[in-house]
């Protein structure tokens, strides 16, 4: 059974290090740095990122591996995924209005 200390909310107030992001996504630190260069990822510190990016980076990395994408395509996929996530959340907010 999980204890609470093992549970970690990936919320806007939390950060992950570049190494944690690499472990979580399977991307190398070099590849993550390239994503930063392409503007698909914005670090919040020297080598830290907002924890909210973890899910999208994992999904993009899966697509890169399975569809054999180059890094520029991975960067594009990642920025689209983040946009879709933001929009889907917005739609859910609007449609969850009571009554």
């Amino acid at each position: 059974m999980a204890t609470e200390s093992e549970a970690f909310w990936l919320h806007a107030g939390a950060t992950v290090t570049i190494d944690e992001l690499s472990t979580a996504s399977g991307l190398t630190v070099m590849e993550i740095r390239e994503l930063v260069e392409y503007g698909a990822l914005t670090p919040v510190g020297e080598v830290t990122f907002s924890a909210t990016c973890v899910a999208c980076v994992r999904q993009a990395a899966r697509l890169q591996r399975d569809l054999e994408l180059e890094i520029p395509a991975l960067a594009l996929v990642l920025s689209f995924l983040e946009r879709i996530e933001t929009l889907e959340l917005e739609v859910r907010k609007l449609t969850s209005k009571p009554r």
Partner: protein, 308 residues
Amino acid sequence: MKYKDYYAILGVQRGASADEIKKAYRKAAQKHHPDVSKEAGAEEKFKEVAEAYQTLKDPEKRAAYDQLGTGFREGEEFRPPPDWGERFHFRQGNGEAFSFDDLDLDLGDLFESLRGGARQAGRQRPIPGQDYEATIHLTLDEAHRGTEIDLAFEKPVKVRIPKGAADGQRLRLRGQGGKGINGGRDGDLYLNIVLHPHSLFRTSGHDLYLDLPLAPWEAALGATVEVPTLDGRVALKIPPDTAAGRKLRLARKGLAKPGGGEGDLYAVVQIVNPTVLGTRERSLFEELAKASRFDPRAHFAAEKSHGD
């Protein structure tokens, strides 16, 4: 063991070039990838084409597969030729040879074990456990207070969801994924939280919004009304001359946040008339209509008319 027709799965001829195989795979993968396709069964279909590609893209694995011949149909029970296992050195994760008499043996697992030259040296290499992902639905109360849920991957697990959830937020549970092999770390479990719509509250991050209906006289004269929150009812003071649409903030009455604190609750004022007027109510409204100089549409006059 069941035969799998990897060429048919990818839709290519047996003599297809490496390039044709790659193209066929990429086309099928783009269509069926579970992160892209929302169709039922997409994941199984994708796994099938990925397995076919993993075998056919590798010249050594493809040669071994081709040795099985063309005598079998998809899904047919079969046994490989007698010297086949010897020639290709199939080894399980623990280094032991496979037994081809094993009926549960999977052709894909077999080819998975043929990992180029690394297979000898890499046998004891630590392999991290698989990460798991799931979407779970919580009520606002469950999100606010935390809860326990049952999930089933390889085996059933009880997972404690700490308080602090918001709609669309993710929770990572370290080590709750698949078991690592040869000392590799255990995988993590990622949960995507979706909040059920509530009959009264809607959420924006950890803030809550509540529609607050007021009678015209409550809005005009001010009042103290009871409003529901996730922690029970509280008294809310309505200032006099409150307009419809005004947001009254109840600090820290929203959802619990990760790491402490709470969001706010906003009561959004709606002004509601009685649906049926009693005689006395009607006459009081009539009196008000005569006495009042209030013009709620004054701004219409200021607007330049376009029709004339």
